[in-house]
Point group: C2
Chain length 77, copies 2
């Protein structure tokens, strides 16, 4: 079970994508209709988010889930 590692990877990619848009966590949170502190937890890999929430974040970032998750979970490291 590499869930902590995969959640951290996912969170890092969300943060990178958000920053590439020049957005604050507040801006992403508002667009995705999610609490700002929850976005922070997701970006740090501390939240085991549901698929629906992941889709909301992707919609806000205007990307698909596949773009954020390439290589995750990453076979058997």
């Amino acid at each position: 079970m590499a869930s902590t590692i995969t959640l951290k990877k996912l969170g890092t990619r969300i943060r990178e994508k958000r920053k590439s848009r020049g957005w604050t966590q507040e801006a992403l949170a508002e667009l995705a209709e999610i609490d700002r502190s929850y976005i922070g937890g997701v970006e740090r890999g501390e939240r085991n988010l549901t698929f629906s929430v992941l889709c909301q974040i992707c919609s806000a970032l205007n990307c698909d889930v596949a773009e954020l998750t390439k290589g995750i979970p990453g076979g058997n490291p």
Copy 2:
């Protein structure tokens, strides 16, 4: 919020991938260490699964999350 549609899409892809392996739900459930009835709910799009569970399913199916989620959520339909 197209979460029902996106969960159904994801569930359908998981089912297709499982069947392409020639596996029963029981076989996938055992490999993914998830309850069989939960797998059934996921395949029907009735379960808003967490990212960790999605990763467990992908690991069992030997694919990455990106492969299962291409085009999801799919911009603004």
